[in-house]
Symmetry: C2
Subunit: 227 residues, 2 copies
């Protein structure tokens, strides 16, 4: 049982390998070239370094968004390509829960906030056991408020955008440190362990799997505005 | 300003690169070959993948133990070797604080416990801001107790050894998930940011730097017993 996890949803990438329940490799990379140039080389490096032949993979774990549109498409295409070829399933997770899983059990409500560019943020809120309190949404920060009784911890790439707005509204909160705020591909193995599901290859499910964009792309918005 | 972080203190390894405050690479590896075969190749891979020439490094961050004796010596030798050659400083951190930093701000006391083999564990306790409550020590689990008023979270490779002992003594506690329990080289950048210190090359400090073993090696103990 060898699982490959892939995340190219943000402006950085991460891949991880788990064999029989043991994390054997993970890498994180944030360099000034695109996912199209880094993701496959990092997957190849992981497999070669760990001496895992590609045909040994039994499942792909993918972060399906929200995030960078190009990154999401590269991740989805890569995961589907490998999965079709090997007839193995793809299990997907959203980027907001993947951010929140680092803070599992922190004794507070977890507000995951990712920078969505265009003066918007992707947001979701969880309790400390990752039960969904607010499902993923794209919002304008100034139009957003949280109604909670209890302590709150803010995490993700948009934490510093959201924090002053919470403060201005008198909502006391903590902020996760940078290393707690970034997603790691291995976090998907943790999410899976919290909520296991059957790992079975299904061509239809695989074919219909799509990134979680949460909004139209900039190109699409421009096209609609020009109509 | 480019920093390399190295951890080979446990039965897994991790290297990370930070450039001008941005984490650009990290890898984690736990495969059945020794650190002597994996650590340098992973450092080389990180530098090559990120196109960082070795002479660009300005500091080395090292996890100096406690942990595997061989691993500690390989990590120390590697860090010193690079640092001597480039005349750059080595900043070191202990493995128990490196484990705890994942849980920074968790609203609980953090008990870091690492498997020390020979029916012993390495332990240290911190508050949620990583202030030291119990400094690193090697103890027999059954001889250990904690006196705290407040919530406790248990983390590290020996968490499952310590947990039933705490339960038996009526000490309520949470356990960190596996991905929160493992050290990451990038965690040293987080520790440094919490408590910055001058990064200056000093030949004497470098020469005198030693691993934090916390006890004699098995070989040393046998030698003394046979005297």
């Amino acid at each position: 049982m060898t699982w490959l996890a892939i995340d190219s949803s943000q402006n950085y990438g991460s891949v991880a390998l788990m064999r029989d329940g043991v994390l054997i490799f993970e890498s994180f990379f944030q360099i000034s070239v695109t996912h199209s140039e880094t993701l496959m080389p990092q997957i190849d490096h992981a497999l070669q370094f760990c001496k895992v032949p590609k045909h040994e993979l039994t499942a792909i774990f993918l972060c399906h968004g929200p995030g960078s549109f190009t990154g999401l498409r590269i991740g989805m295409a890569t995961a589907k390509g490998i999965a079709y070829g090997l007839k193995i399933p793809v299990i997907s997770f959203n980027s907001l829960e993947l951010t929140a899983v680092n803070l599992y059990g922190c004794g507070r409500y977890i507000l995951s906030a990712l920078d969505a560019r265009m003066k918007e943020v992707y947001l979701a809120m969880y309790d400390q056991n990752l039960q969904v309190l607010l499902p993923p949404a794209v919002v304008k920060p100034e139009a957003f408020t949280v109604l909670i009784t209890g302590e709150l911890i803010l995490t993700g790439s948009a934490a510093l955008i959201i924090s002053p707005l919470l403060t201005a509204r008198g909502i006391d909160h903590h902020i996760a440190l940078p290393h707690q705020s970034r997603m790691s591909a291995a976090g998907m193995f943790a999410l899976y362990a919290l909520d296991p599901q059957p790992l079975e290859f299904d061509l239809h499910i695989l074919a219909e799997m799509e990134p979680l964009y949460l909004r139209e792309s900039t190109a699409q918005i421009k096209r609609l505005q020009n109509k």
